[in-house]
Symmetry: none
Subunit: 227 residues, 2 copies
């Protein structure tokens, strides 16, 4: 989701190649990782593959339009936290209200200067990132996501990187059950493909090192953290 230190990923969907290119250039310049799609269906496919943090959607596109895409995405729990911005030439009030009520986070009308767009994107991320960065403290357990240090009752616990990221992810939302897919996406990313046992083994290592019964298996679903 928002693993600190990770480059934020943005998917842009627009049927005009020029616009696609301009936006892509400006966002990459700002340090974001960018993927593009030329129509609604492509956007859906890319969203699944690329697992972006933010999707910028044109509304009028061949195939599925932006609002349809947004609707479809919002129905899937995996894209619940994904930011969505509509970027469109349609400036009528009805469409804008509808777009926002569909679950989008912002609605920007073309034409818009690249600088302004980048600023809006930054503003959106700034707000979200605040919530899950820094150090976590759950009972006697302290997880410092910046220093990569875990401490339990005063003593440090050495975790390997994947182990740490796994723990940090789960502990970030105590009680929430993370599906195996979610874990794979967040910790391993969408590029690498690893087997299911990999998660188990890392879970086991974390449990062993923490020597603390805090990671619960929810059979058929995933894992959760609870102290």
């Amino acid at each position: 989701m928002n693993v600190p230190g990770t480059v934020k990923k943005i998917l842009i969907a627009d049927d005009e190649p020029d616009i696609l290119e301009i936006i892509q250039y400006n966002l990459q310049n700002e340090g974001y990782e960018v993927a593009t799609a030329k129509n609604g269906n492509e956007a859906l496919d890319e969203a699944k593959r690329f697992n972006p943090d933010l999707i910028i959607l044109d509304i009028m596109m061949p195939g599925k339009n932006g609002i349809e895409v947004c609707n479809i995405l919002r129905l899937q729990p995996a894209f619940n936290d994904t930011l969505i911005i509509f970027l469109t030439a349609l400036s009528d009030e009805g469409t804008e209200v509808k777009g926002l009520e569909t679950g989008a986070d912002d609605y920007i009308t073309k034409p818009v200067s690249p600088k302004v767009l980048v600023s809006k994107v930054n503003a959106l991320f700034r707000r979200i990132i605040k919530e899950d960065t820094g150090t976590l403290q759950i009972g006697d357990l302290i997880i410092d996501r910046e220093k990569y240090i875990v401490t339990y009752q005063g003593t440090d616990i050495i975790l390997a990187r994947k182990e740490f990221e796994l723990l940090a992810l789960l502990a970030g939302k105590p009680g929430k059950v993370f599906l195996r897919n979610e874990i794979l996406n967040q910790v391993w990313g969408t590029e690498v493909i690893v087997g299911d046992r990999t998660i188990d083994v890392h879970i086991r290592k974390v449990r062993q090192k923490l020597n603390l019964d805090c990671i619960t298996t929810v059979k058929g679903v995933g894992y959760k953290f609870d102290l």
Copy 2:
């Protein structure tokens, strides 16, 4: 600040009484609690007193202008999480970028229809609140779809995956009778083909674990949830 279930508080600062009134009316209509300020200094005072969740700031105001106000607020930890929207007639690119970089969460240029403004405000809160759409509560029974936990009168009840999904489905619309076909489609999907008795058995398991007479059989039709 963002305690769920609380009415959200919004502070509007603008030197034009008409605008102030129109916005106030529309936001109150939407269920928000609203306070107003006529200039920059008043905005700062009200912010401290009223402790709003969102501040809508005009930029050009007597005394301190909106950007100054935003800067001052952002320096105080107490207002770190407060949402800030600039609402202004200044539509030049430089000001907008500057405004957003000051730490505002959105920048809306006048004129804007009240409906659109309300939609944007809603969208902003929706993202921040992290609405508890995941949890159902029916009487003493709590079903947390995110945490995969069922609680009845404070005690947890462990359900297997299918059992959980079955209960979550039925409890999602209390009173509605779900046909056996509906249940099969929702819980088992269209790919797998299972017999009719399978539903009965799972219903029975849920009833047994809940030890609560909440799933009613509608003979020849299906099942419904009712507490």
